[in-house]
Amino acid sequence: MAKRAGANGSGAAWAVAVHRVFRESAIRQVGYVPDAGLSRLITLCETDSEIRDVVLATEEEGVALMAGAWLGGQRGALLMQSSGIGNCINVLSMVSACAFPLMMLVTMRGEWGETNPWQVPMGQSAARHLELAGVIVYPVIRAEEVGETVAQAAQLVFSSSRAAAVLISQRVIGAKVFVGDEVKD
């Protein structure tokens, strides 16, 4: 069993702020591969009749979903944890080649108090991968700044047809701890 430790474990306040931004930005499709740090926001989207929530089997499906949504006249947002960035790279070529708007929210792993060494490589390189793929990156390390960062990113994305990712630090969502893990020195 695993859970998130930290003051904002379920991310209630920032999740509410982001959901409000989604409403104000007319986001109609939200695709996601879940992360514990995103659970509150996912629940808010699932229970919002204005938003179609689409569970994805793998993150790159979501990049394509967002492109299709835009072709059909709807705005979307794509949620994932940082381990999913690598799965998206090739499809991000389409986003760049076609100048699709793409709004991504990424909760970070492998970055702050991580206990799973397998999460560290992608967590450490996620921002650089995104930038190399043409995605504008906005790191956020304070919960109270998540909402406004998503709002200004969405404004840029949809008015300039660019891709942007808001990277929500593990400082905000809390590091995942495995129940039963003990300190062994």
Partner: protein, 194 residues
């Protein structure tokens, strides 16, 4: 091992048949030969041709189908492209869009790279996979009579529908559509939404 026989149906004829009287349908064409086939059937601003993003055609179709529930969305792609996006069969089935159709032009080959065998040449059954995922209708077509039945499914049956059309691997002249992605995407968006 690759099959030695070839399929009878001509892919250009198949696509012309499926897109005849396309009415208000929106078309996503997977990269490679399916895009050339759609271009050969007659360019249309409501064709979105892929020149990359292999494995993504079905999911682009899903986003489009959810955004435009009153329009028929027809994804026309190849067996190699569909194999790369198999997980999307599950994702599409869970969303169950009634207006989404996946047409797989299955020549059992990677046509753009030297005609290497795909898994379907060894008997992997894409329609069976879609059915197991929970698609509303699936079919596999091998001749003209079955194609006319499938054409009705593609046009009208409540989705999600998958029609796997076994087509000849014969090389055909290239018919290349516009390749500027931003132009294609804006052309489509403007034709649909003004």
């Amino acid at each position: 091992m690759a099959g030695v026989r070839d399929n009878a149906l001509d892919r250009r004829d198949v696509v012309k048949t499926l897109l005849a009287n396309r009415d208000r349908a929106l078309v996503v064409a997977g990269l490679g030969a399916p895009a050339w086939d759609c271009a050969a059937a007659g360019d249309h601003p409501l064709n979105f041709y892929l020149w990359g993003a292999m494995g993504s055609a079905a999911m682009i179709g899903l986003g489009l189908a959810l955004a435009q529930p009153e329009r028929r969305v027809i994804v026309i792609t190849g067996d190699g492209e569909m194999l790369m996006g198999l997980s999307s069969l599950a994702t599409v089935a869970v969303q169950a869009p009634r207006n989404l159709v996946l047409v797989v032009l299955d020549n059992e080959r990677y046509g753009e790279t030297g005609m290497q065998a795909t898994h379907t040449a060894s008997g992997i059954d894409l329609a069976g996979m879609a059915q197991a995922a929970g698609f509303a209708r699936v079919c596999t077509v091998r001749d003209a009579a079955q194609l006319s039945v499938a054409a009705a499914l593609v046009r009208e049956a409540p989705g999600p529908v998958m029609a796997v059309i076994k087509v000849s691997a014969a090389a055909l002249p290239l018919v290349l559509p516009e390749r500027d992605g931003a132009l294609l995407k804006n052309r489509f968006h403007n034709a649909l939404l003004g």
